[in-house]
Amino acid sequence: MILGPVDEIPPGEGRAYTVQGRTLAVFRLRSGALKAFPAACPHSGGPLADAQIDENVLICPLHLNTWDLTTGCSRSGQPDLEVIGVREVAGQIVFSP
């Protein structure tokens, strides 16, 4: 399932997409890799697509809790994030659960 053009997400940022009744936060790393997680922060519902990221972590904009971008594991004592499968195919973000 195609979510939209990769270009819609500036490198280093995230955007939210709704697919099959759930909302995902999809991030585009500077390396080009895509990462996706549920869009609501498990801490208190913060909009994770607005998070700040680097190559390794994601920081929720509300209370600055931190998760590992690769594993979804919390680094600040919150519940872990489910890692959701997305990849890039011909310039499009493809949701592949």
Binding site: G46, D50, C73
Partner: protein, 840 residues
């Protein structure tokens, strides 16, 4: 219906009790109100010693800041002192005239400095003679620091833990310190005579004079203290006296309200007062089975029991075994149990090397460790504590209790410690909690400390915390990036970082990472700080990268707790017009803005705006941004001033508008709030702003810097008085630039000004002692010229999809849609009947 829980006191015990209650789901059971008579959130009193010595910034000692109360729905009422508990009517009365009903009451009033009877120490009105202080609160600490800078000779009365900490702290400000201790050896509560003697060697080696068996009987001085007189008639001249002669529980409230009080408020095993099952006491003000505790470890245990009780379990408190492990004036000290043998057949093993300041002793009875003292070398303490707490079997060769003999294996290694061993007593963190933090992903000591709070109290457990983290992380262990870096991801302090950036001409955040970060690795936590620094250094050349910004700076609006944003149009100096008001009203209506509110800085805030509506709203508003977000120059609050006010001495409004026009949007290490008042009545509250201006007699203007009125309250320092509004613009711009170039990331002016020193700032900014004023002015001018209104981005997004929603369309906990009717019985601010966020 929720029950009303009222907590009197907002100190360490109160804070921890409420945290524990929340952890047990207590937010569903209670409406919580806390009263504190100090004007602050909850802070770590233990750290005051570090604040005094300048090792720690005041802002670093808060355990729960004001947002914590808000986030957890707790009402904090401070500064309000509770003066009476009416347990029959079930209300508490405050000194602000309030009466607050409760269903359950917790008294956690702590204690105060005990001032021993000395002639001349009190003035007739009951206050302390000028120059005589206790050492208990932030206010005490600030005053000690202030006086230490002004005076030369300080006396500390009391050679216990607190007195020695105070002495060490005073000394770091360059005053000569003499400690007067009534007993025959230092820290006589915790140490035996030989241990005390050893500590004395170390303390004197620091250059602190100590006088033992010295009982102070009087202080001299009419307005200000001039000396202390001892029982034997000796007079010790001094201009500052810190009394650290012990503490007394704050029980006046309980006494006058009819509770049983001995040395503290008497409580039973459930922490309930013996007089009333709905009133509890916890912390230093409580007396349990005859004991009053003056250290935090037992208080944490009490808090845990009380919280369990209140949330429905039947936990009981049976008292604590007091063990101390501290760093006193830089010397490691640990003690547990008794300090001297009591029976003929008690085994007493002692090692003492006074020259090196090392002393260790253990007392054993029936093969059990019943007491131990270590000064200067605490390597064996983890094992001793365990043996003491659990009655572990002891080595046949007793000397093994004092030293590691032979092979390294003899060291009671970290992995032998049981998981529930308490490692950090200050914050009650067990070995298990540390190991879990590592397993959960913290791979550096500071990361573990941040996430568990271990080592954030007195700091004496840091070495053990480090060992445990190293052991638990194994090969995964990462080394601590030094604390002095400007940002955590680049191993350079600010001046070196700036030099490297200039020399290598690094214009973007990614370029800085590539050139200066170890392995070229990005670090999200460093991005905002670097963006801000680069903008300051390269007003023209800076290459903006979107991901270098926090969401607020990416979309130029302030993110709210439900993920919507708030929009504040510019309204210079707080002055508006009919057109502007009408436009704002129209826009608010069109976009169904759920809440319209005036901000603390006199601006109109449109709250609850979804991200994707931002560009359209800005376009419709067609006004510049009012900067309610970001680490930047914010708004200038003004009073009415001479145009209208009958007291006005200067045109504060015009000057406020001019300042806001000049400095709008300028980035800085922390936010900068300003105000201009038309006369010393100060209606714009200029004294508590980062930069505050006050018109005074003769057409002149006073400029104050470093004020704050947030979680931290500080009155600004008078920098200079100038003759013209133009000079106000020049001097405040120069100060702002100096601050931008020299402050650490996120360091507000209230921390920056005391750190650099007012004199130094005045030299640079006013007297131009370093000849850099013209350069500062020029760089500021460049910045001013480089200003572009970020809201213009609305027309042409900087990046595609910049304003695409980030909000999941599922329902989130949302900020309340208020129309004022609930609170005020009228309609105010609301423009729509339904919550637009629920519309499709």
């Amino acid at each position: 219906m929720k029950r009303r829980l009222v907590v009197v006191g907002n100190g360490m015990a109160a804070g921890r009790t409420v945290e524990e209650i929340l952890e047990r789901g207590g937010a569903d059971q209670f409406d919580i109100t806390m009263f504190g008579d100090e004007p602050y959130g909850n802070y770590n009193r233990i750290m005051l010693s570090h604040v005094l010595s300048g090792e720690e910034d005041e802002s670093g000692i808060f355990l729960n800041d004001l947002s914590w109360y808000e986030e957890n729905g707790i009402t904090l009422r401070a500064p309000v002192r509770i003066t009476r508990i009416d347990r029959f009517a079930k209300v508490v009365d405050g000194d602000d005239g309030s009466s607050t009903p409760y269903d359950v009451l917790v008294v956690a009033t702590g204690s105060r400095s005990f001032i021993p009877p000395m002639e001349g120490v009190f003035r007739p009105d009951g206050s302390l003679l000028d120059g005589v202080l206790g050492f208990r609160s932030i206010d005490d600490t600030r005053e000690i620091v202030r006086l230490a800078r002004l005076h030369e000779k300080a006396v500390v009365i009391g050679g216990g833990l607190l007195g020695l900490e105070a002495a060490r702290g005073l000394q770091s400000h360059g005053v000569h310190v003499e400690v007067l201790h009534a007993a025959g050896h230092l820290m006589n509560q915790q140490l035996d005579a030989a241990g005390g003697a050893c500590l004395l060697t170390s303390v004197e080696a620091l250059g602190i004079d100590v006088r033992l068996n010295a009982r102070s009987t009087a202080v001299t001085g009419d307005d200000h203290v001039t000396g202390v007189i001892l029982k034997d008639g000796t007079e010790i001249p001094c201009d500052l006296v810190v009394v650290a002669a012990g503490i007394r529980a704050n029980t006046d409230l309980a006494v006058t309200s009819g509770f049983s009080v001995e040395r503290g408020i008497v409580v039973d095993d459930s922490m309930a007062t013996v007089d009333d099952p709905d009133v509890f006491a916890v912390g230093e003000c409580a007396q349990h089975r005859g004991e009053v505790y003056g250290l935090v470890a037992p208080i944490w245990e009490q808090a845990r029991v009380l919280a369990s009780r209140l949330t429905g379990s039947d936990a009981e408190y049976h008292g604590s075994r007091v063990t101390t492990k501290l760093k006193v004036a830089g010397v490691d000290v640990a003690s547990m149990g008794i300090t001297a043998p009591e029976r003929d057949d008690d085994e007493f093993v002692v090692f003492s090397e006074p020259r090196r300041g090392v002393y260790k002793s253990v007392i054993i009875r029936d093969d059990r460790l019943i007491g131990a003292t270590c000064v200067g070398d605490v390597k064996k303490v983890a094992f001793l504590l365990q043996a003491f707490d659990r009655g572990l079997p002891l080595p046949e060769e007793r000397v093994g209790l004092l030293f590691d003999l032979g092979t390294a294996a003899a060291e009671p290694s970290v992995d032998e410690l049981p998981d529930d061993t308490q490692v950090c007593n200050c914050n009650g963190v067990s070995k298990g909690a540390l190991v879990k933090a590592v397993a959960d992903g913290c791979k550096t000591v500071p990361a573990v400390m941040d996430c568990t709070r271990a080592g954030k109290g007195c700091g004496s457990c840091k070495s053990l915390v480090t060992k445990i983290v190293e052991w638990a992380a194994g090969d995964d262990m990462r080394v601590d990036p030094a604390e002095h870096y400007y940002v955590p991801g680049i191993p350079l302090a600010k001046p070196e970082l700036m030099t490297a950036i200039t020399e290598q001409r690094l214009y973007s955040v990614s370029a800085v990472f590539a050139a200066l970060a170890p392995g070229g690795t990005e670090d999200a936590k460093s991005k905002m700080g670097l963006t801000s620094l680069l903008r300051t250094m390269w007003p023209q050349e800076f290459v903006d990268e979107r991901d270098g910004r926090f969401i607020n700076d990416r979309v130029h609006a302030n993110i709210q707790r439900d993920g919507t944003f708030s929009v504040v149009p510019q309204m210079k100096g707080g002055v508006t017009s009919v057109e502007q008001l009408r436009t704002i009203a129209d826009v608010a209506e069109k976009y169904r803005v759920p809440m319209i509110k005036l901000t603390g800085g006199q601006r109109i805030d449109l709250l609850g705006v979804p991200k994707e509506d931002l560009p359209k709203m800005w376009a419709d508003l067609d006004m510049p941004s009012g900067y309610a977000y970001g680490k930047s120059f914010r708004t200038v609050k003004t009073c009415v001033g001479s145009d209208f006010c009958r007291f006005g001495l200067g045109d504060s409004t015009a000057l406020g508008v001019a300042i806001e026009t000049r400095f709008q949007g300028i980035e800085s290490p922390g936010k900068v709030k300003m105000a201009v008042s038309g006369c010393p009545r100060n209606c714009a509250e200029s004294l508590v702003k980062d930069i505050g201006v006050v018109a005074v007699e003769g057409g002149r203007w006073e400029i104050y810097i470093g004020g704050a009125a947030g979680a931290h309250i500080r009155k600004g320092d008078l920098l200079v008085t100038v003759d013209t509004p133009e000079e106000v613009l020049t001097i405040s711009g120069r100060f702002l630039q100096y601050y931008r170039e020299n402050a650490k990331w996120l360091e507000r002016t209230y921390a920056f000004v005391p750190r650099i020193g007012l004199e130094r700032i005045r030299d640079v900014v006013v007297a131009d002692s370093d000849g850099m004023a013209a350069d500062l002015d020029a760089r500021m001018q460049q910045t001013v010229e480089g200003y572009r209104d970020p809201w213009k981005e609305g027309r042409e997004p900087a990046v595609p999809g910049q304003f695409r929603t980030a909000l999941p369309l599922i329902s989130l906990p949302q900020v309340p849609v208020r129309d004022g009717s609930t609170a005020l019985g009228g309609r105010a601010g609301r423009s729509v009947a339904t919550d637009p966020r629920r519309l499709p």
